[in-house]
């Protein structure tokens, strides 16, 4: 059961992320990115990270991608990319070779020589996450609040600019 869930959702994540980078219409690419996020949520649940899985759905699929959808719809059809069969070029071939080489070097250097011991499994409920967040990670937590505040300022300052 667990293996079926794992292999189905990883295949779904890989196929839908390939669709994200190859579909010509931005809206469709974005909707397949939502499928990728949901499939990754299943993987997080299998690893026992319940809180991160729910945050993934709410923050990514719910907030970030809806923001993307608004901006893509503001642009209308001007944002369409070339269809796939018109995009084969030296750039395409070089980038594909680069991406495959990147994965092979990951596999050879990191994953292939990696000997994981027994999986211990971490608690993923809100209580244990909160305890870690507010004890060991207190300084990064405060820094991210400053980061969010600054990004709100930056977004408002950029969006209200009249003369560009």
């Amino acid at each position: 059961m667990e293996a079926v869930l794992f292999y189905c959702s990883s295949a779904l994540a890989i196929v839908s992320s390939l669709l994200v980078i190859f579909l010509p219409k931005p809206t469709r690419a974005l909707l397949s990115l939502i499928i990728t996020m949901t499939a990754l949520t299943v993987l997080y649940l299998l690893l026992g990270a319940h809180f991160v899985a729910i945050a993934q759905i709410i923050v990514y699929a719910g907030a970030v991608l809806v923001l993307f959808l608004f901006v893509i719809m503001l642009q209308g059809t001007a944002a369409s990319d070339l269809p796939l069969w018109k995009r084969f070029s030296p750039v395409f071939i070089t980038s594909s070779i680069l991406a495959v080489l990147l994965f092979l070097s990951f596999y050879g250097r990191v994953i292939g020589t990696f000997e994981p011991g027994a999986v211990k499994g971490a608690a993923g409920d809100v209580k244990s996450i909160g305890l870690t967040l507010f004890s060991d990670f207190l300084l990064p937590f405060e820094l991210t609040s400053i980061l969010l505040l600054l990004s709100v300022f930056a977004a408002v300052a950029l969006a209200k600019k009249e003369d560009i």
């Binding site: 994200v20 971490a122 608690a123 991210t144 990004s151």
Partner: protein, 100 residues
């Protein structure tokens, strides 16, 4: 029980797909979407490591990655809207007015 290396392989494949999209896409918004794929692949690695060591630190780090991604998306989209207002296109080949 699924071996942990399989999670790492999925994460590596997703990261490479994200890099491919980053290099191939011409639309600024879709470049940002490819960066999101890469950040999610990194998150999967963090959570797999958290499960391996029995430590919630990895999950908290994945949470921080989400926060940073949200901030990055906000500013990236604001810049994309500005560009679209200036030259009614978000094609990365046409963004060259910083060139001297």
């Amino acid at each position: 029980m699924i071996p942990l290396t399989h999670y790492l392989i999925v994460s590596g494949i997703l990261f490479s797909i994200g890099l491919l999209g980053l290099l191939l896409r011409r639309n600024l918004l879709l470049v940002l979407l490819s960066i999101e794929i890469m950040l999610n692949a990194a998150n999967l690695n963090f959570i797999a490591g958290s499960a391996l060591h029995g430590d919630t630190g990895g999950q908290v780090t994945a949470f921080f990655v989400m926060v940073v991604a949200a901030a990055e998306v906000t500013i990236g989209l604001a810049i994309a809207v500005l560009l679209f207002r200036k030259q009614s296109s978000v094609d990365t080949r046409e963004i060259s007015f910083l060139k001297g």
